[in-house]
Amino acid sequence: MKILRNGKIWAFVLPSLIGVTLFFFIPAAASLFYAFTDAGGRFIWFANFADIITNPVFQLATRNSLWFIAISVPLNMIISFLLAMLLQNLKHRKIFAVIFMLPLVIPSGSIVFFWNTLFADNGAINGLLLRMGAETVPWFTTNWSFAIIIMVFLFKNIGFNMVLFMAGLSLIPKDYYEAAKIEGAKSFATFRHITFIYIMPTSFLVLMMSIINSFRIFREIYLLYGPYPHQSVYMLQHFMNNQFLFANMQRLSVTAILLSAATIVLVIAVFRGQRKISDTFS
């Protein structure tokens, strides 16, 4: 019976599994082949990897991407969580939730005109600065460009994540807080032992979506700055995009493999961390 039933249940997964195998697993194996061979198909061990890792452009792109994730994801989670805490019992919550989530669905192609109007060299902000007697700032061609994409990212994601956190907070049963109050817990202790613990599943989801969206913000970067932006915002995606132009399968494969490996490490770390946090605090 076990085999029969399990077999049937796998039929549900099958369509997805076929697609994933076709478009992810098999070509991923193929890209392993590219990664270890040269353009002529000769096996060359880790030469491609060495070539990529020592490539200063790759190093720059990796550094930028890591910085971007390391800053934008936590910042996004902290701000949206704090806002959610603050606005938890808001009146007319539904209407505000719609407004807060709006930026998420504005297509990159539309929103960039807004940012461009603000920050271009002859943009509205520089115009304003001049009128106030200050100097203009070349926003897109200095380190400011990094700050701007952080802002663009936060703008797009905070509202949605805040609404998710609000939904998560509203799921925590009220009697937990009442019990803590009766036991005389201080507000920080209540936060640490109740809010923090029970918001974990929500945080996990928000974290996942933040990471995904931190990669997706590349579209805005690309549309704002073009294929060769200031070096502070030259991301791994730029690096790969430009390799696509040359159809350099070796470099592309190696980069994709390195990215996947890093993601695997990250996911394992997040899973472990989540388990550890719930173990130590609960």
């Binding site: 019976m1 076990k2 029969l4 039933r5």
Partner: protein, 345 residues
């Protein structure tokens, strides 16, 4: 309508835990069988194996003469009432009850007839258009019963169906379930941890512990002739008192014997002083109709049942008499009841 036969049934989990061991039981057609035991004793697992929700690791299971080990739940023609009711949240009460019949391609008119009849029987006719979310616990319970009822199954399975109700409602539903069984005379298998439910509902009761059947018997026999210390202690409230044999020195019994005495078999300040001993009241529980006295008898605490209104006070000394005929003896090491009727002094 069908009999259910467990033939050496085992349930082993991949981690090696055995939830049910060597389960042998024949349930007659139309019988109301109750499986009772503490949580984690394997009673629900046994029931779920009948439903087809748990695989059977060993042994054979028959429903109505058919071997069903490999039969899917939907083909077993059983109905089940779950502890948390498991109503379909998105369906109205009517559709909840009709779903099983729709799945079995019963004719629409027949579905309508059966649902309305069952609703009438359970007094939920006005609720048919409501969603489960809007119902009270008691109403949900009735809907869950109705959903099983309309199916007219061979066997009714009930997994702690009353545990989520308050005491008053529970007593009421208990009576209704008993009536329902009388009316349908279908086989019922009913799992509970509540020995009162077991005693009042079951025509036979299976007591389980740690995956093993401890005793199968009628309610009255379970009470009067428990097979071992576990059953003796589990059935009855307040529970049976257990004493080392040396606590009642006049009985002159060997040391390996444990004595079991029901609280109602302890006579307080008996007229003749034979078979009596002094004890001190440690605690008095007033229940209105009766009173439970927690007595200190040479270091052992035992509970005695007393009439209400006598005015026992904490700290009072009294003599208690124990009828040797009503003492049950157990073997200390195995826990098994010894085959002796009472005790000859």
């Amino acid at each position: 309508m069908a009999e259910v036969i467990f033939d050496g049934i085992y349930k082993r989990y991949p981690n090696g835990v055995e939830a049910v061991r060597d389960f042998d039981l024949e349930i007659a057609d139309g019988e109301f069988l109750v499986i009772v035991g503490p949580s984690g004793c394997g009673k629900s697992t046994a029931l779920r194996m009948v439903a087809g929700l748990e695989e059977i690791s060993g042994g054979r299971l028959f429903i109505g003469g058919q071997l069903v080990n490999d039969v899917l739940p939907r083909d077993r023609d059983v109905a089940m009432v779950f502890q948390n009711y498991a109503l379909y949240p998105h369906m109205t009460v009517y559709n909840n009850m009709a779903f099983g019949l729709k799945m079995r391609k019963v004719h629409k008119k027949e579905i309508d007839r059966r649902v309305k009849e069952a609703a009438e029987m359970l007094d939920i006719s006005e609720l048919l258009d409501r969603k489960p979310k809007t119902l009270s616990g008691g109403q949900r319970q009735r809907v869950a019963m109705g959903r099983a009822l309309v199916r007219e199954p061979k066997v009714f399975l009930m997994d702690e169906p009353l545990s989520n109700l308050d005491t008053k409602l529970r007593a009421q539903m208990r009576a209704e379930i008993a009536k329902l069984h009388q009316r349908l005379s279908t086989t019922f298998i009913y799992v509970t941890h509540d020995q009162v439910e077991a005693m009042t509902l079951g025509s036979r009761i299976v007591v389980m512990q740690d995956g093993i059947i401890q005793q199968i018997d009628s309610p009255i026999n379970l009470y009067n002739k428990p097979a071992n210390i576990f059953v003796a202690g589990f059935i009855g409230s307040p529970p049976m008192n257990f004493l080392e044999s040396c606590a009642l020195p006049w009985l002159d019994l060997p040391e390996h014997v444990i004595l079991g005495i029901r609280p109602e078999n302890i006579a307080l300040n008996p007229p003749n002083s034979a078979n009596s001993v002094n004890a001190q009241i440690e605690h008095v529980e007033l229940l209105g109709a009766e009173t439970f006295l927690h007595l200190n008898l040479a270091g052992n605490v035992i509970i005695a049942r007393a009439e209400a209104g006598i005015g026992h006070k904490m700290g009072d000394e009294l003599t208690i008499g124990i009828d040797p005929q009503k003492i049950i003896q157990f073997d200390k090491s195995s826990g098994k009841a010894l085959e002796i009727e009472g005790v000859r002094p």
